[in-house]
Amino acid sequence: MFLWDKLPFLLIIIILLLCFVMPFFARWKPVVCPYLTVVTVIIVFVISVVLTFRVAGGEVIHYHAGDWPPPWGIEIFIDELAAMMLLLLTGSCLLIVFYSLKALTKEIPGPAIGWYYTLFLLTLASMMGIVVTNDLFNLYVMVEIVSIGAVGLVVAKGEKLSTEASLRYLMLATLGSGFMLFAIGFLYQVTGNLNMPYVAAELLEVRDQYPFLMWATLSFFTVGLGVKAALFPLHIWLPDAHSSAPSPSSAVLSGLVVKVYIISMLRIYFLVFGIEVFNETFLRSLILLLATMAILGGSLFAFVQLDLKRRLAYSTVAQIGYIFLGMGLGTVWGVTAALLHIIIHALMKICLFMSAGAVYYQTGRKKVIHFSGLGYQMPVTMAAFTIASLSMVGIPFFGGFITKYGLALGSLEANNPYFIVLIVVSGLLNAAYYFPIVWQAYFTSGHDPQMTMDKVPFTMLVPIIITALGIIYMGLFPGRILEFLEQVSIRLLL
């Protein structure tokens, strides 16, 4: 009973505890570290499944850390959105941990592996903290920890390129946190509260007295979280960081880390400030403009990259644009599509980066032009890659199609039918840079193709297959999850 009440908090504290204990093992028994991580992530996954069932039963979980009630203490708050994100985070991290058991041995130096898992757990714990916290300052602390952990995940490779990229990432992320701290300070000055519902209630009364402060606060939040979520002109750290990191970290960074900032942005815009402020301050137009630039610019940049992981990283910039587009539309369908794209893009990007890592593991190839004939050497990996690419382009029966359809409906709902053109054009651009890889892998082999199985360990192959199946499942049976997300977005936009 004691633990049952503490379950939401155990979720985070177990992992943080392991982060403190892990250096001990990293120093004396590095062999244990990966298995310890696997066990921890499995425990956390089970806990988040239990919590999801509790939330699905109609319960909204409030937990007060140390029994201090909300206006003073830290409150942990798990609603449907948080439960969905928890399930996504822990589930994907479980797959990535299984994948990284073998993949890391080729990508980072041996002594660093124990420390790598420490940082991995730190990143996972603080991502979950961002999702479940209901306190603005706690949010800031968690954002800082994610930045540190994510930078550590990039620098773990120890090469010149990744060190440079992580330094740039560190600087920009710190800048973003600074902006966020300013915004939180302003809000605290005006409302005297840090708990999000209390801040929202106070803001309703005082926001007309401080019009300029509202502008400043909102723009600080937009820039601060926008840097971290890689909104288009602020994305400059992303391609280097995501492409030079080891592939499991690329999967975490690209699939999950940038998304949790978007979740907190959604909460701050729609729950703290409310949709009226969002519309009145022209923030909506700004986000729509930046999202358009992101979708077109990211795709065009991706088009000219020759390194596969770099191409995937620029594709992330474009896909983040989709999520922001849905958010900026501000209608039920738009936000639903944005939330759905958070899930589906996580699946797709994790699948793609894992496949890229598997190709590197077996053949050592990184460049796109060296992919010819790979479809016959690594049939399973390349099949998963093809599924994810088709989904990226938005072919029906794959997950990506559903979000594009949702975004199109959302733009009709918002009386902005031009965005349908944008979605179609970006689909074509996606096809232009994903299909050549697939084409090369299957149809341009110099000599006569010899069909062999992948020589990749089982633990790397299974996560790739699971994510690919997840993409197909999302594309074929999106009904229940769309219904669920529609409820969530109606509640957000209320």
């Binding site: 504290i13 505890l17 001990f24």
Partner: protein, 131 residues
């Protein structure tokens, strides 16, 4: 460091530095300071000690502070984690304003102090190992 005055003076000052750090940690709830500040003082004191006298040690022993620090990071982390799980009214609570009045919070402050001191030591040793 091969400086006679520093070595002689520091041999006696070290005790006071550690004592002062402990004082700040234990009075965390009644006066400014607390686990972080006190741990910083203790960590700096130990760091100065290893800077001054560490070179005389055998090469095998020079890694020892780092290893001990790693163990203590784990211990401090466990103490910290327990704090969040317990309700805020627990343990022996005495007269407000006196030294032993807040139950487990003193213990937790001590955990923070351990963590900070060990972290400083391990950061220093990691940087030393780089070159």
């Amino acid at each position: 460091m091969d400086d006679y005055i520093t070595r002689v003076v520091f041999r006696y000052v070290l005790l006071f530095i550690l004592l002062y750090g402990l004082y700040i940690i234990l009075h965390g709830h009644v006066s400014p300071g607390g686990g972080f500040a006190g741990g910083m003082v203790i960590g700096m004191g130990l760091l100065l000690y290893f800077l001054l006298f560490g070179l005389e040690w055998r090469a095998k022993l020079r890694r020892l502070p780092m290893d001990v620090a790693l163990v203590f990071i784990g211990l401090g982390g466990i103490l910290e984690a327990v704090k969040f799980l317990l309700p805020h009214e627990h343990g022996p609570v005495g007269m407000p304003g006196t030294l032993f009045s807040v139950g487990i919070i003193s213990v937790v402050n001590f955990g923070i102090g351990l963590l900070v001191a060990s972290t400083i030591l391990s950061i220093f040793y990691l940087l030393v190992e780089e070159d």
